[in-house]
């Protein structure tokens, strides 16, 4: 199907169309010129042969004058025919019912010819005799009368002249026309190919350049040759590519500036946060002993400092994904054990119904797996409702972890946005519940694990029975990008 379509596409391609046009033009011109000159030459040759034959016959006729008495005897008729015949033509003489004897000739003379001759005209006709082209010329001998007029004598002379030499000439002409036609056709095809190449090369270059541009190589430019329409197209292409390169470059610069700004701000925030974090324990310990409002204030400061640290950490993590500097630190882990540890460390071990078949080994970044699982489970508790269930399922090259809750599920309008940064499905949600980057980071972490060129995935959906379901799919053996592997 595609092959066929490809063939059709090729057949209607520019090259084929050009080739066909040139060939058709060549054919038509050759046919018109060759056939025109052929027919003209043929007409002239035959005319000349005819004229020559008529002249020669009338010249010969003079030799039989003066006519003896009429009617002639059979012998006189035969001898007259003998005198008139030569190597080119044989002659038959009629006199009313009489006819020259001994002639091999059949009766090719058509009634029209005889009619014309009887009327006293010189008539001729081309006929095919035993497959050979011949010219028939007929005339009637006239008798001069004393009053200056002449009257028909009744002696009809018919000369049969072979046209074979003329036919051969004409055949040669025809052959020449065919050869010339063939040669000019070949020439036309060659010219067509040349022209097609001349037009197609720039077109193909343009196509390739456009493809490269489409692939993202914005530095693509064409060499402009000549001043024709194709050169104009090339120039327009170059201008477009240049504008595109400049604008995309500007956009990228702006984007990377914005990202670097976020990264820089996050790093700058770390130092004051480091000082604040160092003393949050002091605040926590002393808060109980502080009077009323001061104690509450101390606890708020401590709590929000920790939230701020988490937010800055997440921002730095996100900026690492954006700048492409995030790397996997791969290790071989038992997935069930890793998930169990994640749940245990966060005190969720008793609250989550975990189905964890043992013996699922995987080579991945355990810290990132922990981040993802903790995020999904934490999310299920915050936005869904208990019981939260977690199911591990192993395939030959991949494994999946499904985290489901029994809450209201995700709003269909929210579904496409859950992995967006700072996307807040619930406007009433308080800041302290998370940085707003958790699911975005989990999603990036999943994609960072690759196998056979395919990234891991994290998708959100709703269970048929209600409740949100997040499905994580990671490779059993993630590819190491850069360092972080076994040394």
């Amino acid at each position: 199907m595609t092959r066929w379509r490809w063939a059709v596409g090729r057949a209607s391609g520019l090259r084929v169309r050009l080739l066909l046009a040139f060939t058709l033009l060549g054919l038509t011109t050759t046919a018109v010129v060759a056939s025109g000159s052929y027919f003209q030459a043929r007409r002239v040759i035959l005319q000349q042969a005819q004229d020559a034959a008529v002249v020669s016959l009338t010249d010969q006729l003079i030799t039989v004058y003066p006519l003896r008495r009429l009617p002639p005897t059979q012998d006189e008729l035969d001898s007259m025919a003998g005198i008139l015949s030569d190597r080119d033509s044989s002659v038959v003489v009629y006199y009313h019912g009489m006819r020259t004897r001994g002639s091999q000739l059949p009766e090719p003379f058509t009634p029209e010819l005889r009619e014309a001759v009887r009327d006293g005209k010189v008539a001729w006709q081309r006929v095919s005799l035993k497959g050979q082209p011949v010219l028939l010329i007929g005339t009637q001998l006239m008798i001069d009368q004393p009053d200056g007029t002449s009257r028909p004598s009744g002696l009809e002379v018919y000369a049969v002249r072979s046209l074979i030499p003329e036919k051969q000439s004409i055949d040669r002409l025809a052959n020449l026309a065919w050869v010339t036609g063939g040669l000019s056709l070949v020439l036309a095809v060659l010219l067509a190919l040349l022209a097609a190449a001349g037009v197609l090369r720039p077109v193909r270059e343009l196509g390739r350049a456009a493809h490269r541009l489409g692939q993202g190589d914005l530095t693509t430019r064409l060499v402009v040759r000549g001043t024709d329409e194709l050169a104009d197209v090339a120039r327009t292409f170059n201008n477009t590519a240049q504008t595109l390169e400049r604008q995309v470059g500007e956009l990228r610069r702006m984007e990377s500036d914005a990202r670097r700004f976020v990264a820089d701000v996050s790093h700058e925030l770390r130092t004051p946060l480091a000082a604040m974090t160092a003393v949050t324990d002091v605040l926590d310990e002393e808060a109980g002993g502080l009077p009323g409002d001061a104690g509450r204030a101390a606890r708020i400061v401590s709590q929000e400092t920790q939230n701020l640290v988490r937010l800055v950490d997440d921002l730095i993590e996100v900026s690492r994904f954006d700048s492409g500097t995030a790397r996997l630190a791969l290790d071989d882990v038992d997935v069930a054990a890793a998930v169990t540890a994640t749940l245990r460390v966060r005190g969720w071990a008793d609250q989550v119904r975990a189905e964890l078949p043992p013996g699922v080994m995987a080579r991945l970044d355990p810290r990132r797996l922990d981040v993802i699982v903790a995020n999904l489970v934490g999310n299920a508790f915050r936005h869904g409702a208990a019981p939260v269930s977690l199911r591990l399922h192993a395939e030959p090259n991949w494994f999946t972890i499904e985290v489901a809750d029994q809450g209201p599920g995700l709003d269909p309008e929210v579904l496409p946005h859950v992995f967006e940064r700072f996307y807040k499905a619930d406007t009433a949600r308080t800041r302290s519940e998370g940085s707003g980057l958790g699911l975005a980071i989990a999603w990036e972490n999943a994609r960072l694990h690759r196998h056979a060129g395919q990234p891991g995935s994290l998708v959100a959906g709703n269970a048929p029975a209600g409740g949100a379901v997040f499905r994580l799919r990671l490779p059993r053996v993630a590819e190491s990008a850069g360092d972080g592997g076994v040394r």
Partner: protein
């Protein structure tokens, strides 16, 4: 309690950590530059160094190398970034452990206690019951005296390196995962940084192996971890 040398250039961070660690019962000697820190190290009045990597003048990596050249004083790096390059470079320079700023005082305190446990009698106990002298080829390990020598010559091992060697050599030929080693040597809970193990193995190999690119004592078992021997 222990004497902590804190080298940190940001004054508020320094003050905050000093305040918090002092409340935990440590004696904190806080300085702002690597040069001052090295002077204190020379005076020998510290049990553990908490070292910021981003320092004016000589940077944290160089300070780390110089302290390591002097002896086996435990070093905990304080890095403002969780950048892989910094962590790896710091560990290769000889740090025993690292924490990422911002750090809560109790987390840093726990790390200080863990690293200190590796130096003293706890290592002796953790080194394995039958205290005595073991011979592994050219390597002699005295679990009681905590002395390691190779071909009769004593090998100077930092506390973490020694602890790692004791842990591995306790069960020769048996593979220990990075996770197991992290929990046993560094006392990190789940999800410690396995690069700590890798960096420490590198340093240990450089000291006890003839050819650290073809190790005999501490062998890598690809995909699983490390094992001691078999010789």
């Amino acid at each position: 309690m222990s004497r902590v040398l804190l080298i940190e250039d940001h004054q508020t961070v320094r003050d905050g950590l000093q305040l918090a660690l002092t409340r935990q019962g440590h004696t904190v000697d806080a300085v702002a530059t690597g040069e001052q820190g090295l002077v204190r190290v020379h005076e020998g009045a510290s049990d553990v160094v908490v070292l910021d990597l981003m320092l004016p003048g000589i940077d944290g990596f160089e300070v780390c190398r110089r302290i390591r050249a002097l002896g086996d004083l435990p070093i905990i790096m304080l890095t403002a970034r969780n950048d892989d390059m910094d962590v790896v470079a710091g560990l290769e320079a000889g740090a025993d452990d690292y924490v990422v700023k911002p750090v809560q005082a109790r987390v840093l305190e726990a790390r200080i206690r863990a690293v200190l446990r590796r130096t003293g009698g706890e290592t002796r106990r953790a080194g394995g019951a039958p205290a005595g002298v073991e011979q592994h080829g050219a390597l002699t390990i005295d679990r009681a005296a905590l002395v390691v020598s190779r071909g009769g010559m004593p090998v100077g091992l930092a506390p973490t390196e020694l602890r790692l060697l004791l842990e591995l050599s306790r069960t020769p030929g048996q593979v220990l995962s990075r996770q197991q080693l992290l929990e046993a040597v560094w006392e990190h809970g789940y999800l410690g940084d396995s690069r700590l193990v890798d960096a420490c193995v590198q340093r240990l190999r450089a000291k006890i192996e003839d050819d650290s690119s073809a190790p005999v004592f501490v062998q890598t078992v690809r995909g699983f971890g490390y094992r001691f021997g078999p010789l």
